[in-house]
């Protein structure tokens, strides 16, 4: 696995996959995709980086501990549910706003926030497991 080609290509591959994972996450609202599968793609991107470069660069690149990322995702998902308290509708009701950014109407919703939370939980948890497994390898 530790060839020059792989080591050189891995960062580009990782960047591409991370980008793709965000695409899948956002696409998931109306089409196949979503937070879970997007998170898995992102986690495998990080795993590829880890296989090529070792786990320390992955941890440095992530900045936060993977479990912290997962916890933040859980927090976001919870908040997405609780927002409906302010709008006087039952828990987890989808709420939308349509702000206009540079003349483009951007639909934002608590559903998306929830999905983003799921994305982070999956990224954090799966990366945490992957890094732990890779560490045992050495």
């Amino acid at each position: 696995m530790n060839t020059v080609i792989f080591r050189t290509l891995a960062p580009f591959l990782t960047a591409l996959m991370l980008l793709f994972s965000v695409f899948v996450l956002l696409r998931g609202h109306n089409e196949p995709g979503g937070g879970f599968i997007g998170g898995l793609i992102a986690a495998s991107a990080l795993a590829i980086y880890g296989i090529a470069r070792g786990i320390r660069p992955v941890r440095e690149a992530l900045w936060f501990h993977p479990m912290t990322i997962a916890a933040f995702g859980l927090l976001l998902a919870c908040i997405a549910g609780l927002v409906s308290m302010l709008a006087a509708v039952p828990f987890m009701t989808g709420l939308w706003i349509y702000p206009s950014l540079f003349g483009v109407e951007v639909p934002l919703s608590t559903v998306m926030l929830f999905d983003f939370g799921v994305y982070l939980v999956v990224v954090g948890a799966v990366t945490s497991i992957a890094l732990a497994l890779e560490r045992e390898d050495i």
Binding site: F72, L75, C78, A88, W96
Partner: protein, 516 residues
């Protein structure tokens, strides 16, 4: 993703359009709060000093929320909130009746006591490993199981609490713990799988997972449906969860391995969720099948009681001994379920609440005793009475309470169960309940005689920790208070039992218009 289009669609046929009263939020808040604070604690995992105060504050808020919820349910009957405001049975409903609210309140008491006890007994590495986040997530699962009104959602909360309990069980990563955790995990996963199969089957029969909906449909369409098969599957799955004989072997194999406070929380919370689910399904959803299976459950209950108590007598490690006492208590609850009627179900509910408090306190007392003596082995421990008289008095109260002696909280539910059993002519079951009390007395009397009364053999160890003594004293005070003045709790429990047997108020709360 399209902008809201003004159209002629009648939303009231799919959505709850009336804004929910603010008090209804109490139905979901215990769960949401646990998840939220668990996530925050997980993010602050490295800050080991901040963990206990934050977690204890979060658990206190949980206790407050559950107390308010109970008050709301006592005042206004069962409360329902449907997630995402889809009309039930399509939206996932959280429905809380008296039984659920009482269980949730007592579980919050136990969790707060456990969090307090752990403040000094879980060291920095245990905190960094995530004891408090696991505890909060465990409470999310436990509260969710007590508050949900959807049977698949109940399964999900079972999984949540199970996964958190795995984390707590291996806290410390000793080989012995891994061994206990594997047995625990495997056997519990078998039980959850059975539960899931039963739920799938249920969905196939009724096309709904909402418990109120199932209760109505089961009553309407009973002839010709294979409900007995379902009921047996549920009894087996929840019996395994609750550690009923003969599927109880996972409990003694694992409960003595983790940290004492983890054992205390497990003893107080986990098996009771199994009993709660059993009561909910067998009494509210399938009462006819529950009656038909009552003899089977009664035999299992008698065996659970007797083998639990005998196992306790046979142990010399106090932690293992308590594991068997948990099982024996489960037998009493099962006996109540088997007998049925307001007395039997009420007795089972009451015993479960009593057992939550007392088993947790007993494990805590054992932890303190083990710290004072340096060992958990009865053959080597001794001299506790001479060294810590107040602590010994607290322990004695717990010993008497767990064996069902008046005037402590264990007395009343046993009386209720025994009386209900005699009323339906099951004298042998009543006799077993009483014999179990006697055997339990022998088991805990042995602990008292050896570890407390026997003159000291081992060198003196440090004094008990303040936080541990505080949570132990609080739980002991609760068992004494319930024992001396059981009336308010008893009234609520009897109301809860009759609500379970006659769930029209529960159904009305989910389907206010009666329209389905």
């Amino acid at each position: 993703m399209a902008a809201p289009a003004a159209s002629a669609i009648d939303l009231s046929r799919a959505l709850v359009l009336a804004p929910p009263p603010v008090a209804d939020w109490l139905v979901i808040l215990p769960v949401a709060w646990c998840l939220l604070s668990g996530a925050v604690l997980l993010m602050l995992r490295k800050d080991v000093r901040l963990q206990p105060p934050l977690a204890i504050a979060a658990l206190s808020v949980l206790l407050l929320l559950d107390a308010l919820l109970l008050w709301r349910v006592v005042e206004g009957g069962p409360v329902t909130m449907v997630m995402g405001r889809w009309l039930p049975p399509f939206g996932i409903a959280f429905t809380v009746d008296l039984a659920g609210a009482l269980f949730a309140l007592f579980s919050a008491i136990v969790a707060l006591a456990g969090g307090l006890y752990a403040a000094e007994s879980i060291d920095a590495s245990g905190r960094r490993y995530g004891f408090y986040p696991f505890l909060l997530l465990l409470m999310a699962g436990v509260s969710g199981a007590f508050l949900t009104g959807d049977i698949f959602n109940l399964y999900v909360w079972f999984e949540v609490l199970l996964i958190s309990s795995f984390g707590l069980l291996v806290l410390g990563s000793e080989p012995k713990q891994i061994d206990g955790a594997i047995k625990y995990a495997f056997l519990n996963l078998v039980a959850t799988t059975l539960f899931l199969i039963a739920v799938g089957y249920l969905y196939g029969l009724f096309g709904t997972l909402n418990m109120a909906d199932i209760a109505v449909k089961a009553a309407e369409r009973r002839p010709g449906l294979p409900l007995m098969t379902l009921a047996v599957l549920f009894v087996l799955a929840f019996g395994m969860k609750a550690a009923a004989f003969p599927v109880n072997f996972w409990l003694p194999a694992s409960y003595h391995t983790p940290r004492i406070v983890v054992s205390a929380l497990f003893a107080g919370l986990l098996t009771k969720v199994g009993i709660y689910a059993l009561i909910r399904v067998m009494v509210m959803l399938f009462p006819v099948e529950g009656d038909a299976l009552s003899f089977l459950i009664a035999v299992a209950a008698a065996a659970t009681m007797i083998f639990g108590a005998l196992g306790a007598i046979g142990q010399s490690d106090t932690r293992r001994l308590l594991g068997y006492l948990v099982i024996s208590g489960i037998g009493v609850m099962l006996a109540g379920v088997a007998v049925g009627g307001p007395g039997g179900i009420g007795g089972a509910l009451f015993y479960a609440l009593h057992s939550m408090v007392v088993m947790t306190a007993l494990y805590m007392a054992t932890g303190i005793a083990g710290r004072l003596c340096g060992v958990f082995d009865l053959n080597r421990a001794g001299g506790l009475y001479g060294r810590a008289a107040f602590f010994s008095a607290l322990s004695l109260v717990l010993f008497l309470s767990v064996s069902g002696m008046p005037p402590f909280s264990g007395f009343w539910p046993k009386v209720m169960v025994a009386k209900a059993a005699i009323d339906i002519g099951a004298w042998w079951l009543a006799a077993t309940v009483l014999a179990t009390g006697f055997l339990t007395m022998i088991a805990v009397g042995r602990v008292w005689a050896l570890a407390y009364w026997r003159p000291e053999k081992t060198a003196s160890e440090p004094a008990p920790r303040a936080s541990a003594m505080l949570s132990l004293s609080a739980l002991v005070a609760l068992t004494v208070a319930i024992g001396l003045y059981p009336d308010p709790l008893l009234q609520q429990i009897q109301a809860a039992a009759s609500l379970l047997a006659e769930p029209s108020a529960y159904v009305n709360s989910v389907f206010p218009q009666g329209a389905r």
